[in-house]
Structures are given as C-alpha cells and as structure tokens.
C-alpha cells in the first residue's frame, strides 16, 4: 500500500506549465517609483512607449512558482494512505464481518474498511452480501450497497465470541449457488472453534477471490480467569499478539466502579499468557465486583466476579449451648472469634437442632461448623447430606459428645473409634503432642509450624488405607488431627480435637484462626444458588446485568435468555447468554465471555483450500492533503502580497520607531493629563462609602445572616414588620432591615443585631464570634433567639439543638452573668409597660445581663454599654411573630394563635428598641422625683 497517491493525477500535467508561468512572472513589472519631473515634455519626446519589464527578484519568482505549484498539486488532490480498489467484479461482494468482543476498540476502522469495500462495490455496480458473525440472525442475501451500508451502520460489536460457521452457512444458503466475486473476511484475528468448517464451506463457494482483513491484534487482551487465593487474587490473562513484551495493569473494581486494588500483567515476548496477583486484604477482596484491564474497553478485558468470590456465610452449631456464665468454655467462642473477620456468621435461633438446621440450610451457608455435635436429629441428616453434595462444607470439631457418639455417623470423614485418646495427665505415660508440619497436599500447606500447640486429647480415626491422604494435619506421632472427605461437590472436615481450650491449646493460637480461614475460603459460595432450587440440580437464572462490548454493565437484557447453571459448573457465554450477571440482586452468577483457561490463538486461514490474500485494516482515514496545500498556497499569496507591498514602499510611510515612541509617550501624557483631574478629585473616596453613609444616616435594624434561607427570610420579614410597627407607633423611623455577615460586614452601625440561632446553619468561624464579642464590648447588643420554646416537650430542661448551638457560640465569649428580665427592669417599661416578652411562643423568659446591684459584679461590659445589656437571649421566636409579607399580613401564626400575643410581641420589640437607643435615660426617669428634689425645686 503506497502511502501517497493523487486522486486526479491528470491535473499534474499542469506542472508542465510552470516554466511558462516562470517566464510570465519574470516579465511582470513591479510597481514604478513615482517621481515628480518638471521637464516632462522633453522627456515625452524621447520616451518611447515601450514597457520594458524590469526583472522581478529571483526569490519572488521562486515564491510565486511555489504558489502555482501548490495550487496545481492541491487540485490534483493528493491523498495519504490511499486505498487500493481491486474488487473482483465477477460476482457479488460477500462481506463476512466479525463483530465480536475483540473488534470493539477498532470498530470504527473496521466499519470504514467495510464501507470502503461497499463503496467500491457500488462503483462497480455489484451487489453486496454482508453478514456479521456475532449476530444471531443473518440476512446474507446480496442486496444493494445502500442496504449493506444500513446494515453496517446498524451493526455493533457484540460481547460474544464469533460463530463463523453459522455465518458461513448463512452465506452459503443466501447465495444459493451464485459464485461470489470477492469474499472478504473482516476478522477479529482470533481463532475460533469452528474456523475450519467455516473456511471450508466458504471456499466451497468458489469465490473468485478470497481476502482476509484483520487488525494487528495488538490490543486484543482478555482476562481468562481469576482465582481467589489465600492472600491474593490471581488473574489470568491471554493475548493474541505475542510479539513483544507487554505490561498491563489489572484493576479490581467494586460495584460502584471504584478501583480498589490493582495488579500487573507482564507478558514476556512470545508468550500469550500472563498472571497478575492482586494483593489485597481479604475484606477488601470481598468487595471486588469485577476485574478489568486498565485502558482496555472490551468485554474480554473484563472479568465479572460473583458470590463465588465473596465472603462466606458460615453457620455455627454447637452441641452444647453452654452457659453464658462461662463464655470461654463455650465450644463456639473461639470459632466465632476466629471467623468473625472473614465470614458472615449465622447462629441458630433455637437450641433445637431439628428446627434450627433446616432454618440454617435455607439461608444457604457456604460452610457449617459443628462443634462437638454428637448426634443430630434423624430428619436433618438427609437435607444436610444434600447440602454437602451440592457443595456445602461441613467442619466438625470433636468433643466429649462426638467421642461418645455411635460410629455410624455419616457426617464424619473417617471412621472414628469410640472414646477419646488422652495424652499426658496423671494416668498417662505420654506427653501432650504438638503438631507435625503440615503436609504439602492440604490447604494448610505453607502455614508456619505451630510449635506452641499441644494437643492433650483427641478422637482417633480407625486406620484405613486412604487415611493418610485424607489427613490435612497430624500430630507429631502421626495420628491424624484434621481429616477430610469429599462428598460429591461438598466436603466434610473433622478436627479431631475440641473447639475450646479444654482438649488442646490450639484454639488459642493464631494457627487455629488461619486454618479455619483457609477452610472457609475453600468452601464454595456457589452452593447457595443451587440450594435455592432444591433438588433440581440446575438453577435457571434470569439475566440481571449484561456486559456490553466495551466492557461496561448495562441493565438492558435484550435478547438474553435465562441461563441454566449446573451446580459446580462455570457457565460460559453463548449467543443466548451473553456475558453478564445472571440471577437477582441478592444473588447472581457471573457469566464471563471466555471460559477459564482459554488461550487466544491467531486466526488460521490455512483451512481454506484456495489462495487467500491477507491485508490490514485501512489505517487512518485516507487523508486528503488538499486542504493543507490550499492553505499553503493561501499563505504564500499573503506572503507575496506583503512582499509586493513592502517593495512598493507601503511601509516606508510608517512613522519611525522613535517617532512612534515619542507619539506614544505624548499620547500617554495627554491621557494622563485628561484623567488627572478626575483622579485627584476621587482620591479620598473609597468603595462602599455610599453604603456606609446610608447606614449612618438612618438607623437600621440588622439581623445575622445564618446561611439558612428560610431562617434568613423570616428574619428579614420580621425586622421589616418591626420596622413598620416602629414607624407607625413611635418617632423612630428605621430604614430597611439589613442582613449582616458577621464574618465580614462592619457591625458598628447597628444598635442591635438580631441573631436567630439555628442548629442546621453552619457554625460561625471563631473569627466571626470574636467580632461579635468585640461588637458587644463596644456597646452593641445581640438579641439571640433560639426559637425553640416548645421544642423540648417534656419539661426536663434538656438542651435543645439550638440551645446547644447557642452554648457553642457563647462558649468563647466573655458574657456577664444573666438573669431573666426582672419586673422593674427598664426593658419592661421603656415604651410600653410589659410584664413578659412573647414572640411566636410565649413563656420563655428574656434573659438580660444581671443588674449590678443584683450581682455586685463590676463588669466592663455594662459600663461601656451605658447600662444597656450587651446581649438578650430568648426562645420565643420574635422574628416569627413580627414577620409580615409584602401585603403587611403576618407570615407565621403565633402559638397559640392569638392576635394579642402578636401585638405584645411587637410591643416587646418596641421596648427593646427603645431600650437600645435610649439606654439608661429611661432608667433615670424613674429617679426624676429624686432628681428634682435634689435640684431644690
């Protein structure tokens, strides 16, 4: 494929004209110099009318030649990466296109390749038959190019493995004996199971030409399996293109799409498989919902995980319910402590095993631990055995009861001798035994040797030929300590010693924890699903979430049919069962695209018994260089114009740099002169002066903006109402209420600030509280309103949230001692004579600074405030009572609904304002008679 060609090479003949253009360009005269010349008449007599052209500079000619050449080349339409058109027109074009999972990354290129072929077929006027190998139905009958294009546009990569044989059969059927011209396989490059048959049937059509188009397969990497190990998760991956070393990271993602852990897949050159270890704590691995290769968005690069990788549900059953008074002696104590971090534990609700065991089996445990259960009710044996057969793991611990149980217990892995063996003790010659190293075959392989464990008692197994291989752990003298027996899909494990610390100190050791954890980890979680369907053996699960071709999950289940999953079988995706999660939200099974252990092999076309041409996808879209050439020509034109202008002296009239600099300085100076008067006049003005002047001209009521919209609105309306009332009743005519931000605004303009406390509002910053403190010290007053008089219904005096917030606000403020407003306080008589100060609620006292004569304390605050209390605290919701809307009608009802209470609330507000503004002047009025007397009147 040549990387460069011309769409219309004939135009290139125009390049032959370049020499002529060159000659013409040389002859074109430049613009003449203009000269004034008085003796023109004399000159006119000698000057012949010959336009002798002056020669243009060679570089200008060259530039114009390049311009002409660029335009000619542009018209010739050169194309990068052109596509060869070599369709065989002997018969219809047959396009067999893989739209499998591996085509998702470069689907656009594939579509373009196919479109190009269809376009060629359209040009040649031959019909097109197009089939997609990952579709369920094929419309392979040759049709028009337009129809094929529609089909192509409708096709999407499917998260499936292609079935080429079916596609080939469909093509064979559709052609019905017609001999195709070009048969083009647009493959994903992955070998499939039915390739040989498919190729054979395709070549039996005897096409004039068979062509295989495939990508380089560099991006085709799939996860072929995942195994949850003891301390990490192994992720197996396979790739198609084994040429070079490759390193990919695999992310483990939870259900919310968060990446929890990652591992690295390192492919060595020539190797198609790699394994990544994702190390993560067990608890974290439980949350893995899927594994995906970073930066690869295909269905194959995602491995869905299901409950098989989840925490095990473990049922704990003890033979002796024991007593709560001696927990350390209970058989399940150590087991539950050991398994708590790793598994969900189920304990029976009743001690009656006949009831509790079927109950437990209904909840589908992965494993069941029976500690010293000797004899079970007869009717539970069968369900238990069924559960084990389906994959349950039964872990039993010995004990006095088991030792005393009859030997025909079907739920022990080995035949046990009656009674137990005691090691050590007063009546024994032997010492307690410690553990032998764990055999390499069992699950305990690799555990550190547990030298500190000693076993004093155990039950003994009857020796049988296969006892050794059933033994996972044994004592130093070789007697089995842990034996096992597989029962169909399940397993029974027996610890030959007790689960509490009476027979051995094993339950106290860390080894015990690790052993139990490994055993539980071995237990199949899949048993849960099958158990739900009783004895049928195979569960039929509806699609729950399906994987799309680009590796994301969708709730759209489309044509997916419920999948029947045999117990113990790993389901594999098929046409009817695209990969995804099957089941319900509570329990689902992951169906992955590739079966575990799958290896991707390159597509092998040797089965076709004819010559097969292989080619790659068309690269980037055949790129026309025409725009670039036109752009270059345009740039050259501009350059040429500039040069001509320059040669003709168009720029010689520009002012000299020094002149322009002088002019610039002069302009700046002039501008400065113009602006100077304005600047000099505005020098003492600052931003916000008008606001300050407005605040100073008129008294304004202010409230603290809490940040809670509803509270702030009520505050605003409340102060509006009080402002109107004041204007109507008194000589005080306040301006519009002002909301202040205590953190930033200047507070000193306001005689009183109303602060509705709201626990939901953001806590003011320490700096803001400090400003309030300073405001109060400087004579301002803050009216705190907790607005919760009736919030604490019981009269217990418990602090309400708003009260707690008020306490938090006041914690860092130096407040004077407070008292409820005394009857004879100025506040009660500064304008109206009032007995109490109701708001929306009545009953809460209005707390003011305790008067000096009452407290005998020399507070600085009172002196600076001229006897006015620096803070008022109420819970009566003043603003709520004052609040009026735009029409002047009250916004909120009083509690109880009482017009007089609202009136009194307004009066309280008036009294507070008067008290604020007049200070102790009103108090002095009390002493008028005494003063007059002192004056000698």
């Amino acid at each position: 494929m040549s990387a460069f060609a011309f769409a219309s090479p004939a135009v290139l003949l125009g390049l032959l004209a370049l020499p002529i253009i060159w000659w013409l360009l040389r002859l074109t005269p430049p613009r003449p110099k203009t000269e004034v010349f008085p003796p023109l008449r004399i000159l006119a007599t000698v000057l012949k009318r010959e336009e002798t052209p002056a020669q243009s500079p060679w570089w200008l000619t060259l530039l114009r030649m390049a311009l002409a050449a660029a335009i000619i080349l542009a018209i010739a339409n050169p194309v990068m990466n052109p596509r060869a058109n070599s369709l065989n027109t002997a018969g219809p074009l047959v396009l067999v296109i893989d739209n499998s999972w591996a085509t998702a990354p470069d689907w656009d290129r594939r579509v373009r390749t196919a479109e190009a072929l269809i376009g060629d077929a359209e040009d040649a006027g031959i019909p097109v038959s197009i089939v997609f190998t990952a579709e369920t139905s094929y419309g392979a009958i040759p049709g028009s190019a337009a129809a094929a294009r529609e089909k192509l546009a409708a096709a999407r990569p499917e998260p499936l493995v292609p079935d080429r044989q079916r596609a080939a059969a469909a093509v064979t059927e559709a052609l019905n004996g017609t001999q195709p011209g070009s048969l083009v396989l647009l493959t994903d490059g992955i070998s499939g199971a039915s390739d040989e048959a498919a190729l054979a049937s395709l070549s039996s059509l005897a096409p004039a030409e068979m062509r295989i188009i495939e990508g380089d397969g560099a991006g085709t990497v799939a996860l072929s399996g995942a195994v949850n190990n003891a301390d990490s998760m192994s992720v197996m991956a396979t790739r198609l293109n084994t040429a070079s070393a490759q390193s990919l990271s695999v992310n483990a993602v939870d259900t919310q799409g968060r990446s929890l852990a990652s591992g690295t897949l390192s492919f060595s050159p020539g190797s198609g498989a790699a394994t990544a270890e994702i190390s993560a704590p067990f608890e974290l691995r439980n949350d893995f919902a899927r594994l995906q290769i970073a930066d690869r968005a295909t269905a194959g690069s995602v491995r869905l995980l299901d409950d098989g990788f989840k925490r095990r549900r473990v049922a704990l059953i003890a033979g002796d319910s024991g007593s709560d008074f001696q927990p350390l002696l209970q058989p399940l104590y150590y087991i539950s402590r050991a398994l708590q971090p790793y598994a969900d534990l189920i304990e029976p609700t009743t001690a009656d095993l006949a009831v509790s065991i079927p109950q437990i089996l209904q909840s589908n445990p992965s494993a069941m631990v029976m500690a010293d259960v000797g004899r079970l009710p007869a009717e539970v044996y069968e369900p238990l055995e069924q559960w084990i057969s389906r994959g349950g793991t039964l872990i039993r611990f010995a004990g006095p009861r088991l030792a005393a149980a009859p030997a025909d217990d079907p739920l022990v892995p080995v035949v046990l001798r009656q009674g137990e063996r005691a090691l050590g003790g007063a009546m024994s010659w032997s010492d307690p035994q410690s553990l032998a190293p764990f055999p390499p075959t069992g699950p305990f392989n690799g555990l550190p040797p547990a030298d500190d464990i000693t076993i004093a008692r155990q039950v003994l197994a009857e020796p049988t030929p296969d006892l050794a291989e059933r033994t996972w752990a044994s004592l130093e003298d070789g007697t089995p300590l842990v034996t096992t027996r597989e029962q169909e899909n399940g397993r029974i494990v027996l610890f030959h010693t007790s689960a509490e610390a009476t027979w051995s100190n094993m339950p106290l050791s860390g080894t015990f924890v690790e052993m139990l954890r490994r055993l539980v980890q071995m237990a199949r979680a899949g048993g849960a699903a099958s158990a739900a369907n009783g004895a049928e053996g195979a569960a039929v699960l509806p699609p729950y979430r399906l994987l799309t071709a680009d590796g994301s999950l969708t709730t759209e289940t489309g044509i997916a049919k419920p999948i029947a999953i045999e117990a113990g079988e790993t389901p594999v995706a098929a046409f009817d069962h695209p990969p995804g999660l099957y089941g319900t939200e509570d329990g689902f099974t992951a169906v992955n695209l590739l079966a575990p252990g799958t290896e991707l092999q390159p597509f092998d076309a040797s089965a076709a018994d004819m010559n097969v041409a292989r080619e790659g996808l068309i690269g980037e879209e055949a790129r026309s260089l025409r725009p670039f050439l036109f752009a270059a020509a345009f740039a050259l034109i501009l350059l040429d114009s500039l040069i001509v202008l320059f040669m003709n002296g168009a720029f010689s009239r520009l002012p000299r740099p020094s002149q322009s600099a002088t002019a610039g300085i002069a302009a700046i100076a002039a501008l400065t002169l113009v602006l100077q008067p304005g600047l000099s006049q505005a020098q003492d003005a600052k931003a916000g002066d008008e606001v300050i002047m407005d605040r100073l001209d008129t008294t304004h009521l202010a409230y603290v903006v809490t940040g809670e919209d509803e509270v702030d609105r009520i505050s605003e309306q409340g102060l509006q109402g009080l402002t109107q009332f004041l204007t109507y009743r008194t000589t005080l005519e306040p301006g519009e209420p002002v909301g202040v931000d205590i953190a930033t605004d200047e507070l000193s303009f306001y005689p009183i600030i109303y602060w509705p406390i709201s626990a939901d509002a953001p806590m003011p910053s320490p700096a803001a509280i400090s400003r309030i403190d300073a405001y109060m010290r400087n004579g301002g007053t803050v009216l705190f309103d907790t607005r919760d008089q009736f919030s604490s219904l019981d009269n217990s005096g418990a602090t309400t949230p708003n009260g707690e917030r008020l306490q938090a606000i006041l914690a860092n403020i130096d407040i004077p001692p407070l008292e409820p407003t005394p009857e004879d306080h100025v506040l009660a008589r500064s304008f109206y004579l009032l007995n109490d100060f109701p708001g929306r609620y009545a009953g809460s006292p209005l707390w003011v600074e305790a008067r000096q004569e009452a407290t005998q304390s020399g507070s600085e605050l009172s002196s600076s405030g001229d006897g006015v209390t620096p803070l008022l605290i109420t819970a009566n919701d003043f603003a709520g009572a004052w609040a009026i809307d735009a029409q002047g009608s009250p916004v909120l009802p009083t509690v109880p609904s009482d017009a007089m209470q609202r009136e009194y609330a307004y009066r309280a507000g008036v009294n507070i304002m008067m008290y604020m503004l007049t200070g102790n002047y009103k108090a002095d009025q009390v002493h008028v008679p005494a003063l007059l007397e002192r004056l000698g009147q």
Binding site: R31, P38, P39, R41
Partner: protein, 305 residues
C-alpha cells in the same frame, strides 16, 4: 525608496529678501550702461552721452542767438571774445523689469540641488533689484509692480511679490512701455518656439532682455533608474518609463538641444541668455547677469551662450 525630486513649498518673501540682501553684498555696484536714450527722460544718474539736463559738465559751445542769457557761462566767456554756453550731459534713470517664474514647476527640488528652483530665482531677482536700486535704476516687475525708483526698491519688490497672486507662464507685459531692460528668470522648459513667441514681441518693441534659466541638476543629469513614473507638476500628466536609465543619454541630448535652440533664438534677438544650476552658487549667476546688464559679459561662466 525616496524619490529624487520633490515639490517644495513656496519660499516666503521675507526669507528670500534676507537671502537676497546677503547675495547683493557680494556684488559691486552696477551701473547700467544705457545704450539708448529713452524719450521719457527723468533725471537720473546715468550720463546719456549727449547734451541735456544734467549735472555733469558736457561741453562749452558758442552762444547762439535767442538762447537764455542765464545759460551763458560767464567765467569761460571772460577768457576770450566769444560768449560760451556750458552744456551739461543729459542724465536719465533706466527702467529694469525683473521677472521670475513662480509656476509650480519652479518649486521642484531634487536631492542634488541645495534649494528649489523658485527659491533660487527669487534670490537672483531680488539681488538684482538691490544692486540696480543702489545704482538708482527704476525697478519694476511686470504684472506685479510698477517701476519705482527708490533705495528700498528691493524690499518693495519683495513685498509686492508676497502679495502678488500666483502666476505661471510668461509675464504680463501690458504695463511695459517704452524701451527698457527686462530680466527673465525661469526654467523655460516649454518648447523654445513657444517661448520665443512670447519674447519676440517684446524685442520688437525695442526692449533689451536677459534670460536666466534656472535648472535643477536632476533635470539636467537625469539620474533616474528602473521603472519610474514621472509626473508633471503643472499639468499632472504622468509618464511611465520602464527602465529610466536607458533614455538618459537621449533625454540629455533633447534637454541640451532645447537650451541651445533657446539660446540661439535669443541671441538672434540681441538678448542674452544664461543658465544656472541650483547646485551652484547664486552669486555666479548674479555676476553673469550683472555683466550683461553693464555691457561687460563675464566670460567663463557656464551660462554663456
């Protein structure tokens, strides 16, 4: 690329005056030798070499019957028996018309010349006026100023020129009466025949003329190269020369031929002709013209023809 020639602003009269006075100081006083005695005789300093009203002694001649007794020179008559009358030489002032071409083409100045042609022409005219006024001649300017006999005639001429309307072409000679001298200063770039058509009537009226051609060096040497568009400052006519350097020799020949033709025609009229280039000193031209006016042509100056 800056052009070689340009049109300069009209030289202001006062500036020209100061420069003209400086030039005039370079030249000795000039006495115009009157060749002919005009009928309109007014007392002047020039002896007319004939008997008449004057102050200088001319001759003693015997007293004739009927003459005024007051005319008898008794001192001379006492020396012998005859009665003599003292004749005085007839002294009369001469009228010299000065004219400079102030048309737009005169405002041309090239990079080779030091001043524009107009400036040089004005300087020459006023210098002549200064010299002649000092000699007591009557100075006039056709179409601008009636002849005056005044010591400050040059200043008055300058003032008159300052207020005179812009003129072009040859002078309006209607106010010239009688025999007088006329000095024409200009570039005379028109065809020689057309110039002579205007000048010949003046000569036929008996005027004696002096023509000074002021030329810019660029007009004479034609230093242009390359593709050049030439513009006539008077008519605005344009002429494009593809390669100016190719016509240089031809142009120079045509230019000099015109000068030759003009000079020849003037000489036939008995007029003098001098040419002057603006890259030369103005005093050179002044000396030449002065020589012609005083009847003693300076030889060796390039303007001779």
């Amino acid at each position: 690329m800056a052009s070689i020639g340009q049109i300069v602003q009209q030289t202001s009269g006062s500036e020209v005056l100061s420069r003209a006075q400086a030039r005039a100081a370079l030249v000795p006083d000039c006495m115009v030798e009157a060749k002919r005695i005009a009928n309109t005789v007014i007392a002047g300093w020039h002896g007319r070499r004939k008997r008449g009203i004057g102050e200088n002694f001319w001759q003693f001649r015997p007293y004739a019957e009927g003459e005024n007794f007051a005319a008898i020179d008794w001192r001379r008559s006492a020396r012998d028996d005859h009665t003599y009358v003292r004749d005085r030489e007839w002294e009369a002032a001469h009228t010299v018309w000065l004219w400079a071409d102030l048309s737009p083409s005169m405002m041309y100045k090239s990079t080779f010349g030091s001043v524009s042609k107009e400036s040089r022409a004005l300087v020459l005219m006023l210098a002549l006026a200064e010299i002649l006024a000092r000699s007591g001649e009557r100075i006039g300017c056709p179409g601008v100023m009636e002849p005056v006999s005044s010591r400050n005639a040059a200043e008055r001429l300058a003032t008159a020129i300052m207020h005179a309307p812009q003129t072009s072409g040859m002078p309006d000679t209607a106010m010239i009466r009688g025999n007088s001298d006329i000095v024409l200063i200009g570039d005379f770039l028109d065809e020689a025949d057309r110039i002579m058509e205007r000048i010949a009537p003046l000569a036929r009226r008996g005027m004696r003329g002096h023509v000074v051609e002021v030329a810019d060096p660029a007009e004479e040497t034609f230093p242009y190269t390359g593709r050049t568009e030439f513009t006539d400052p008077e008519t605005g006519e344009k002429l494009v020369s593809g390669r100016a350097e190719t016509v240089r020799e031809e142009y120079r020949r045509a230019y000099l031929l015109r000068r030759e033709t003009l000079g020849e025609a003037l000489r036939r009229l008995g007029w003098s002709f001098a040419f002057h280039r603006t890259d030369h000193l103005a005093s050179e031209a002044l000396v030449a013209v002065h020589g012609y006016l005083s009847g003693m042509p300076v030889t060796g100056y390039g303007g001779r023809s």
